[in-house]
Amino acid sequence: MKILQLDLRAFGPFTGRSLDLSEGDAGLHVVYGPNEAGKSSALRAIEQMLFGIPARPSDDFIHSYKNLRVGARLSRASGPPLEFLRRKGTGNTLLEADNETPLPEDALRPLLGALDRELFRTMFGIDHQQLIQGGKEILHGSGNVGQLLFAAGAGIADLQTVLARLESEAEELFTRRAHTRKINQTLKALDTARKRARQSQLPGEEWAQHDEAFHAAKMQRDAVQQQLQHCQRDQSRLSRIRQAQPMLAKHRELLGQRQALGNVKILPADFPEQRRTAITDLEVARNDAQKARDELQRIQRQLESIAVPTALLARAAQIRELPDTLGSHRKAQRDLPGLRARRELLLQTAAEILRQIRPELSLEMVEPLRLTTLQRAAIADLGNRHAALVQNLEQSQQDIRDSREQLAAEHSQLAEIEAPRPAGPLKDAIRRVQSQGNLQQQAADVRAELARRQQQAAVELGRLPYWSGTLEELEKLRIPAIETIDRFEKELGEAEQQSKQLSDRLAELTDARADAERQLDESRREGEVPGEDDLAAARRLRDQGWQLVLESWRPAGDMPTASVGMAPDPANHERLAEFLAAFAPGLDLASAYAQAVARADQCADRLRREAGRVATRAGLLARRESLGRQIAAITQQADEARAAQIALEQAWQAPWLTVAIQPGRPREMRAWLQRHQSLLEEAAAIRVRCGEAQRLDDCMEAARAQLRDALAALAAPPADGGAHLAAMLDHCQAVVDRIEASHTQRQQLQKSIRQLVQRSSAAEGRAERAAAEIAQWRAQWALAIEPLGLPAETIPAAANQVVTQTAEMFARLAEIRDLDERIQAILSDAALFQRQVDELSAALAPDLAGQEVAAAAERLIALCNQAVTAQNEQQNLHKQEQRHQAALVKAQQTIDALAARLRTMCQEALCQRAEDLPEAERVSQTACRLDEQLAALEEQLLDLSGGAGIDALRAEAETINADELPATLEQWTRQIEQLESQRSQLDQTIGEERNTLATMLSGAEASEAAEEVQELLAELDTDVRQYVRLRMASAILRDGIERYRQKNEGPVLRRASELFQRLTLGSFERLSADCDDRGDKVLKGVRPGGGGAVDLAGMSEGTSDQLYLALRLASLESYLIGREPIPFIVDDVLVTFDDSRAVAALRALGELSRRTQIIFFTHHQHLVQLAGQTLDPGVLFVHAL
């Protein structure tokens, strides 16, 4: 197969690009592309063209995923070239060159055989990284020929790593002896789990044992419980008897007392009370009977003294009515004259009225004048309406008159109002001026502020130190910046600080030196202390003395003189004199010398004795000297510092002096600068205010002009004063107000006139309607008053009067009729009354005959009343009599009953008489009390007998000795305690066994361990499978490597040896394969000229890369023999080769290209040039991306 053309139709950065790779037999096609040209995309394109575009492509950055297309024209061993396109997808990804017709998915299979993407990439591709990796494997590997050939043959760069990984993964799972491997651990865990499952199983025996113990304890407990109950029962019985014994004694005693009383009649408890009550009641009843008899006698006497007139009483009812009749008779007699007078008066009044309204008629003829209610109402109604109708008409006429007058007045007003003028322009002018605010006030404010500021600035300026002049001049000054001031302040401060520090230090040092001097003085005053100098001087003097002594001893030569004091030579003499002078005069040499020795010793002694003082003094001296030196040094520094300070101050003043300012300290000048700054700001502010004032003046002038123009247009008088804007505004506003007022007034008048005209015409309409209504009324009216006999023109008031009078007259006539009836009735009543009285008098009191009727009636009434009183008294006495008789009967009955009762009681108590009863009662009570006590005791004893009865209890108690009882009871208590303790122990045992059984039941450890065993087995299964796979893979791979070596070693190694010699430019002569100690074939490089074999590990990195390339090329050549060629894709492998070795490699590739197509991608222009210089044009074809 050869790629004749690569179509980068839509792939990576390419659109419609194609590479023509058809030239040459197969050809070495160098594809050059600088960075970013798409070299990597082109590389991927070849692979994806052959094997498909992956699901997540990296070349869809221009063409979308769906539109990716890469194609090729491939030559085939048989048949014409195959041309196709590849698209992205899961199926049908091959298309014909028309980009439409699908090709079968396996169309390429005949060309590729079993080759797949991975194999193609490794076996028929090499890139720089792979080359380096392959070289490294060679360097670090064992040089095993089989592995090297296998790796190079398949294009695998990391075969050893793969082998190692397979083995190490297997070892991580299991090794025979180790304990930490996964499978080993699982096996151990499995053992443990099995053991646990076994051990934690609960054996049936153990459970049965505890179950048995549990039941035994339960039975034992029941037995003890029974025994305990028995004991408790006995104990209880004895303690009952013990309690009962004293009670039995008491019982016997009471029984004796009761029997002594003998047979007693027991009386009821209330018997004495009943007896006492009966006797008392008897006495009371006897008293009552006596009283009743006395009363009856008194009543009888009274009855005999009373008499009653029965005839009178028989007619009493009739007589009792007389008083009423008498009263009304008398009243009627009094009223009669009045009634008659009134009748006369009424008759006269009626006649009078009639005369007024119809003089021609008499009272007997008036009936036709009577009006019905309806007629009266009609007349009243019409009368009422009349006034309203008339008023209506008059009102309408009045309205018409009023409207007309008002209209005339308003027309004349309208005529007086001035003609309309347009006020608009003037109003606009006013609004414009006002919209600028109160200009005049603003101008005044600004000027006031300006003046204030100018004044303030002048004051500030006057107070500004160091400088004088105007504000304008001040503004022009070139003043140093604040930063300069800061810098000088800092530097001057530091200089001053330094000076001060130095002078402080100087003062300190001077003080210290003075102190040292003082201490020295003190030390001196304490006594002179010898110093080392003194000692040295004393010794020198002593030595001098000794020299003189020696000399005096010495004879002329070098022998000492024999005696001291012989002074031979003058020089010596002089020295002697000098020596002696140090001592008191008059001493000879010997004494002086002795003194000199003494002095030196003394001095040395003192030095030793007063070593402290000596040292102090020496120290003080040294300190004084050191301080002196320091003072000198500091003084010098202080001088320098001062000079520097002066220079600095001059530098500080210089810029100020140019503006004629003698500056103060920087801090002052900073304050000055601030004031200066604020003055500058003030000056700026003043300028702003000046401008503002001017602007306001201009505005005002413009406003005035506008207003003047507007006034002129209205032909209004200009404002007086003229200049003042506010006054002018007021004036203009007044003009506007006036114009607007007259306008409003005119509109109001016109509206009013329209309304008046309307009102006038409405009033006329109303007047017409009123006149018509009145005419109608008149017709109705004439009809209504006709029955009264009045003429039609009678006014309603008159007609009403007639109606009222007629009604009054009829009222009088009716009253007269009533009076007539009443008089008639009174007369007939009086006659009846007379007849009644006469009849009664004749029957009951004949003496009254002939008396006046009223007096006779009164007498009859008095008689009747007397008779009634007597009858009442008699009846009352009869009633009293009956009551006392009843009381007497009742008292007698009570007396009889009580006597019988007392007799019965005597019988009951077995007594003859009532007087014996109290004694019988006493005996009965005593017997009762004893019986009660006995009953209570017997009840208690019955309780204690436990239901057996008192006799049984007594019998039982008698069998038991009361003295022995406490001891017996004690014995029982002890036994009960013992049994209870036994029971409690058994309860505990039962509880323990129950718990043990429950615990045994609760665990699930055994089944859980069994479950764990199963889980571990499952885990083991997985791991063992993986281990087996790894071990098999490892074994098969080693086997395969060995077999491949055997088949390919000879030809491939020969060719590789040759290529290696060329690629290393003869640095190695050849490759050799020898057996090592273990019998494995190991590859070595042989140096030329008998230089010996070199282990691969000893080669340089470059050489090992070249060896890998040699092996790859040799394997490929060997593979291609007799097989369909597959293009070899080389990606920039030569970048680390020097030019000469690169040339050698290119030549080798050129040779290979005669067997199969080689596509060589590179970024490097010089490789292209090298190839061009090196290779035959029939072999090399260069393409640029």
């Binding site: 990597s40 590389l43 991927r44 299979r109 055989g113 079993a114 797949d116 991975e118 194999l119 990439r121 490794t122 076996m123 296998f150 790796a151 043959g153 398949a154 075969l159 793969v162 990984r165 025979r176 499978i183 096996l187 609960l202 054996p203 049936g204 025996e205 153990e206 459970w207 179950d211 039941l1001 665990g1003 699930a1004 055994a1006 089944s1007 069994a1010 479950e1011 065993v1013 199963q1014 889980e1015 087995l1017 499952a1018 083991l1020 299964d1021 997985t1022 063992v1024 499978r1025 993986q1026 281990y1027 087996v1028 796979r1029 071990r1031 098999m1032 893979a1033 074994a1035 098969i1036 791979l1037 077999r1043 491949y1044 088949k1047 593979y1119």
Partner: protein
């Protein structure tokens, strides 16, 4: 508690139901679930004491339905199981039935006969055990039932026990209680063999059989059936597990209802990966199948064996990294099953697609492929290869060496199956690397 019910009415009920009873067998109490490798996210708590939970379900079912009695056709425990607590748990459940007034009739199966614990266990009085030496008939006067049964005397009983069972007592409802392998069932010892004809000849109204763990109705008239075990314990005991509830009317007609008691269910998930181009394609299909299984499990936890087969382009990727894909499927199961799905095992049995399978490779890789092909055909060669890991084999526990589910590393067919994976693993390791930059 949900009861899945499938009704199998053999003779429709024409009369009023007279009584109900339950037929169960092969409780295998505390027998551990097998083959479940623990991994992060597996529902470990769901498998704990699953057989106990299932027995509790049985007892609850009996009480709720107020059955007249319960039949247990043998194998209450595992034969080699000595944990007395297991027996006591059984007793505690029987006591519950006693309190509900429900008697239990049971025969000892081969496992029970082998188990020493059985003898010592104090059974409550509502439990009747048939004797081992000869068949016995128990008559229940309350419901006119005669139960005939015989226990196993020892683990291995090879004679036909049913032969000696008495003839039916006419007028009563006759039930035969028998622990048997019938005419032999794969994976079950051929104990107490018998035939359907032999059983029918007794003219009983119902044969309650035990021993075979898979539910199976041998005969519809009269009903002769294995109720199967009540809780699956490994991947060969798949699907729903439970007991039969039998309703009997006054004319001795029966209605059978399967009642599922299992708390943890075993299922196969067979996935056809044909034409899957990538591992993710395969995962999508597995996800789909697993979802169906989860939906059908009615809220129970599941153990699922995933078996992926078929020729596909994904074969290389799958075979090269079996552990990786196993973990992917486990993760998937977490997702689908909400923590209630346990992937028991993943078996990747895919093959290369036909178009590439035939092609022979050249070069070094071709050499490897050829070598593996040779190994598959040469038994001696294969045996030699087995020597590579003989050091491990001798240390492995017997469970991994024996039985149909074991590794079987001595068996050539097992090794050949693994060689396919090894081939792809090698190619993957040698050739897989990042594509060109």
């Amino acid at each position: 508690m949900h009861w899945q019910t499938s009704v199998r009415s053999l003779r429709g009920i024409q009369s009023e139901p007279m009584f109900k009873f339950i037929h169960a067998a092969d409780i295998h109490l505390d027998s551990p679930l097998r083959g479940l490798e623990r991994y992060e996210g597996a529902p470990v708590d769901a498998i704990r004491q699953a057989t106990r939970r299932a027995l509790e379900n049985l007892v609850r079912l009996a009480i709720q339905n107020q059955v007249a009695f319960v039949l247990l056709a043998g194998d209450l425990y595992d034969g080699d199981w000595k944990e007395f607590r297991t027996g006591l748990f059984f007793v505690s459940q029987m006591v519950k039935l006693r309190e509900a007034g429900i008697p239990v009739y049971l025969i000892a199966g081969n496992h029970d006969a082998a188990n020493k614990m059985t003898r010592r266990l104090p059974l409550p009085e509502n439990v009747s055990v048939f004797p081992p030496d000869e068949p016995k008939t128990l008559v229940l006067p309350d419901c006119d039932v005669a139960i005939h049964g015989q226990s196993f005397a020892r683990a291995s009983v090879l004679e036909n026990l049913s032969q000696n069972y008495p003839a039916a007592d006419s007028g009563l409802f006759n039930i035969g209680l028998l622990h048997t392998a019938a005419t032999g069932r794969e994976g079950h010892e051929p104990y107490a063999p018998c035939t359907v004809e032999g059983l029918r000849a007794k003219h009983y109204d119902y044969w309650a059989l035990g021993h075979v763990h898979k539910q199976e109705v041998l005969c519809d008239d009269p009903p002769i059936l294995f109720s199967g075990n009540i809780q699956g314990r490994h991947i060969r005991e798949t699907g729903p597990k439970g007991c039969v509830m039998v309703t009997v009317d006054d004319r001795h007609a029966t209605e059978l209802q399967w009642q599922w008691l299992d708390v943890f269910r075993w299922e196969y998930c067979r996935v056809d990966a044909s034409s899957a181009t990538t591992g993710d394609d395969m995962l999508d299909r597995v996800r789909q199948r697993l979802s169906h299984l989860v939906a059908a499990a009615d809220g129970r936890s599941l153990a699922v064996r995933v078996e992926v087969a078929g020729s596909c382009r994904a074969h290389r990727a799958l075979a090269a990294e079996p552990n990786r894909w196993t973990n992917e499927i486990r993760a998937l199961a977490q997702d689908v099953g909400g923590g209630e799905l346990w992937i028991e095992k993943v078996q990747l049995r895919t093959a290369l697609p036909a178009d590439t399978a035939g092609q022979s490779l050249d070069g070094p890789i071709g050499e490897l492929v050829q070598r593996i092909a040779e190994l598959k055909t040469d038994p001696q060669d294969l045996a030699n290869l087995g020597g590579e890991f003989s050091d491990l084999l001798e240390k492995l526990p017997p469970e991994l060496k024996e039985g149909s589910e074991s590794l079987g590393l001595e068996r050539p067919e097992k090794l050949r199956e693994m060689l396919d994976q090894v081939e792809q693993m090698l190619i993957h390791q040698l050739l897989a690397r990042e594509g060109p930059p």
